[in-house]
Amino acid sequence: MKTLNLMILLGFPLAITAQNPIIHNQFAADPTARVFNDKVYVYPSHDIIPPKPEPGQNGVRQDWFCMADYHVFSSENLTDWTDHGVILSQEDVQWGNPAGYSMWAPDCVEKNGKYYFYFPDGQKIGRGFGIGVATADSPVGPFTAEPEPIKGVSGIDPCVLLDNDGQAYIYWSGMGIRGAKLKDNMKEVDGELQAMQMPQRPGGNAPQGQTPPAFMVAGQQMEGLPDGFKEGPFVFRRGDWYYLTFPWVRGDTSNGANPTETLAYAMSKNPLGPWDFKGIIMAEHSNRCWTNHHSILEYKGQWYIFYHHNDYSPRDDKRRSPHIDKIAFNADGTIIEVKPTLRGVGVTPANSRIEIDRFSTKSDDVSILFNDTLNTFRGWHATLPSKTSWVRYNDVDFSSVNANGYLTVCVKANANTTLKVRERDAKGKVIAQVPINVVSQMGNFRRDMSGRWLTLTAPLLYLPKGISDICITGEGDSISVDWLQIKKRPEYFSSISSPTASPDEQGFIRRWMILEPIDNPEANSNLLFSFTYMQDNLANPAKLPKPLPNMPRDGQKVKHDKQSLTWHATESNTYNVRLFRFADLLQKATYRVCFWAVTTIECEEDIPNVRLAAGSNGASMWWVEPAEGKTAENDKPVLMLESDRRMVADDGMSNRLTLKKGRNIVRCAVVNGPGLSDFCVRFVDEKGKPVTKYTIKN
């Protein structure tokens, strides 16, 4: 049955879809993005929460970077990312410390079908970082690490530039930023190594008064860069210009101040400089996340910057997540400073979950908070405190939905209010309007859903074309929104394009003239529909809608009690005729109603010994009569399905009857209490096989 209790969905927010950050189930820092075979691959380092030390052991530092392996992620649209899993672990590097947790920022390039993965790692013997190479035949590995690190390249943050002439260069961070040519094998630097003194550090390992040992270094210092801490070089070429981009601490470090990293850049016509410092690409993170580390690439004609921020770890900036934003250049080749966004890049299909908290712009009073502070990976929501609050989200593709669609939204409120979803801005046309009724009273049943997440739906009032922006606004009381989504609805009916139709392969009649539902307020339950009720109400001429024409016209109006009702020509797209959806799409009452449907079938000759076979939700009554020559006998119903019915094909059958040569009228009335009302009907022969040799003429 049709349980009469009123329940509502308690929605919990889920983190889905892209936007910034782009990876939602793990930390990932230092994103180096590369294009291979028209796909973008991101090779980040993989921040993890440091493992707790064994009892009695020092273990790894709990407040420091901790990275044990690398994943790679790929995407074709920069919004949907596939995690290809671990491609290299610290245990797989012969020269590395298998418990060093020092697999910092990597890079990957392709040459002649081979993929070369460059990565720093803590040395198994001795101090400091080495940089190794691992190779694979696929961008997603498996990668095999060389047994030794690259000679002369001590440090971190490798970046490899493959220049147009095929020459490869490696850049890294180690006592400043250095660069060197790579040999053709991509595994060795080209040129002499120089002996260099390890700088004496206060509190360093070298005994007092002794000179630290010399070691061999490749390549050259990059000249022309500003003072201040620099690391993470990323070099790319655009036209004739080479760009050396790098995290840079520009602030004053005296008096114990601790300024954080910007992203900065220098330009040159030569891959190894000297460089001309140009300024800032991205300012310091506003929340003092100390590091930033980036890569820049062109994909399908647009330039993007990949960088990181500690979104999911607000109190620990050693656990970071990758972002993407667009980046653009001035005519002289200089870079326009990038303002980081949460919206990120890419077009969001309207039928995916739109994380509105990853906004493009918003009013200042809107706050963005975690859904669950204990599990930050559950994402965020936006709270609109007032009538003037708004949140805008750009580039939504509406071509994925139709005007029959509806909005579904995950919201929370403390009082009854309304959320409006508009096109473009806070004054834009309303796409959908969602009443949020958190407190209601129905009889003795009081419902209070204030402060709880609810998933609500609302019909579309307007559907923007193509790609447009959305903007949500409140109506006064505070509303929190986690996500919204426009869903497509099935096409339950087609428009009628031909004068005749046939029954479908299984004999079901799909073309009907259906009258808008007649109110039947007493039908709270399908248990009402007894034999007596059906006789008294549906077979009683005094209670039928008038006129009940033999064959109504599309659009013909009738009056019944106080209702003005219209007949609609309909063609069901399924074997069953979904009366509930017929009413729903016309925005008429769907529950506690009575439906009437009529169709005409024309036979070339008498078809004797057939039965009308019907199923309905709920109870129904059926008539078959010749269009001409109506008699008292054939005006009687041929079948009644009483009581609390479910729609079952061939549930009930009429007695054997004859479909007369010429036109026959098939008519039914279906009463619905609380169900998803529908019916299916066909004619069958003595063996139960469908009869289809007739034409439907409506």
Partner: protein, 484 residues
């Protein structure tokens, strides 16, 4: 030789006899599939909470299942228990927003220190506009593939199938829900012998003694359907073959669950919307589950009463090993029968006609031609204080009209004692097997510590019953009960 076969599927009108219902406080709606955990049985119902039983027969409230909502299901996977439930209750007038969630527990015993549900995670939902209301979930772990499936939905639209990860209980990434039926409530998926079965509940619930709720089934060679009924009608067109409807003073069976106890020994759990003998309350029902031509069929509730117990091996009757007492009859020469002479019925042999000829002490039992004589009629009566097993009470089996009781001996044979004493070797566990026959096992073998679950009454020879290990594949293990 006349083969005597009990009529197993006949609906018995037993309103004057005591039906054996679950005892204790078995009040529940939409019971989840019965799951055993550390020797106790658990089932969870609509609205939260659930029932616990120490022996599978006497139930009490006390199960703990947070989250509210409708019609949960539970399953043991590995060493943990996965519980799936709908957080909502289905609804009317626009509120068909539903959510299906899963959560794990290391134990189902709320007294255990390890009892702690993991945080529930959503695996499916309906937004109220779809032709589906995401409530009433059930679980199937496919024994062929190890893949975990869930069905859900109610009368409002379609029944849907989703795939879950058996390691996490989460929805398999990228899995798209699929319609497999319409207009059912409280569905359940099971697998047996190359077929997937989708059970659903049709009819009207929640209307007490007038509820027409009934359990129907369709089957498919593939878990994704199509699920067809016995006339080939798809459950997507409302098809379904009856498994259990009202009868025997209960109405409205709903929410099927299958539990396999042993090879060939299965039960189905459900609730009855109303048990007339329990004041019309909604109670837990456990019935034998039978399989007939590849279709599940509910067996009958067992009733105390007087039965002939005949072997499936030969059709001989279990009886006291006493002299066969002839009935005296005025025999006529058949050539001289006068057709006009009135017929005088021959009375049955009565207990008092023969009991004086029986020894007074222990009497052995054997098997012989069934002649509906007093030494062949056994009264089977539940023994209230003896407890039970999953789905039934321990019974005494006495010669009708006497206290002479069937007993197991320590050397794994059978005899009868003149007076039932209540000791365990005189208590019997009687279970209907999937083919409709019964196995009958003593509660304990004298001299053994443990409750017996191995030895059953067994046809050593046509005429010689004994106790031997249960073997579903041998008719020697099986007996038919025919009510007298």
């Amino acid at each position: 030789m006349k083969t005597i076969r009990a009529i197993l599927f006949a609906a018995l009108n037993c309103s004057l006899l005591t039906a054996t219902a679950q005892t204790g406080a078995p009040y529940i709606h939409d019971p989840s599939t019965i799951v055993e955990c550390d020797g106790k049985y658990y089932t969870f119902g609509t609205g939260g909470g659930g029932l616990i039983s120490d022996d599978g027969w006497t139930w009490r409230s006390g199960g703990v299942r947070p989250g509210g909502g409708a019609a949960p299901d539970a399953m043991k996977i590995g060493k943990r228990y996965l519980v799936i439930y709908g957080a909502t209750g289905g609804g009317l007038f626009g509120n068909h927003n539903g959510r299906i969630l899963t959560m794990w527990n290391k134990t189902l015993d709320p007294e255990s220190p390890h009892f702690k549900y993991t945080e529930a995670i959503e695996v499916a939902s309906s937004d109220g506009m779809e032709d589906c209301d995401a409530i009433d979930p059930s679980l199937l772990l496919d024994p062929n593939t190890g893949r975990l499936w869930a069905s859900y939905g109610t009368y409002w639209g379609s029944i849907r199938l989703i795939e879950l990860d058996p390691k996490t209980g989460e929805r398999v990434k990228g899995n798209v829900e699929q319609d497999i039926a319409i207009d059912c409530e409280a569905t359940d998926l099971i697998y047996r012998d190359g077929w997937y079965y989708l059970l659903g509940t049709h009819g009207t619930c929640c209307d007490g003694v007038n509820s027409t709720y009934n359990i129907i089934v369709g089957r498919s060679r593939s878990v994704t359907g199509p699920y067809l009924d016995n006339v080939g009608r798809d459950m997507l067109k409302g098809g379904g073959r009856m498994v259990l409807a009202a009868g025997d003073r209960v109405t409205g069976p709903g929410h099927f669950g299958r539990t396999v106890i042993d090879e060939g020994v299965e039960i189905m759990s459900c609730h009855y919307e109303a048990d007339f003998d329990m004041g019309g309350r909604s109670v837990l029902g456990i019935r034998p589950l039978l399989w007939k031509n590849g279709w599940p069929v509910a067996g009958d509730r067992f009733h105390e009463g007087t039965y002939a117990i005949t072997s499936e091996r030969r059709g001989y009757s279990l009886e006291l090993a006493v002299n066969f007492t002839r009935i005296e009859q005025q025999r006529q020469n058949f050539r001289r029968i006068d057709p006009n002479e009135p017929i005088v019925p021959v009375p049955n042999q009565k207990l008092e006609d023969v009991i004086g000829t029986w020894p007074s002490g222990e009497i052995a039992v054997h098997c012989s031609d069934y002649m509906f004589r007093p030494h062949q009629h056994w009264t089977i009566t539940p023994v209230a204080e003896a407890g039970g097993f999953l789905g039934g009470p321990y019974c005494k089996i006495t010669i009708a009209g006497t206290e002479r009781a069937l007993a197991a001996t320590k050397d794994l044979e059978l005899n009868t004692v003149p007076q039932f004493t209540g000791s365990d070797e005189q208590l019997w566990r009687i279970e209907q097997l999937i083919d409709g026959t019964y196995r009958i096992m003593p509660k304990r073998i004298p001299g053994k510590k443990e409750i017996n679950t191995r030895y059953v009454i067994y046809s050593a020879g046509d005429s010689t019953p004994t106790l031997a290990e249960y073997d579903f594949n041998s008719d020697n293990s099986k007996w038919n009960l025919k009510r007298q």
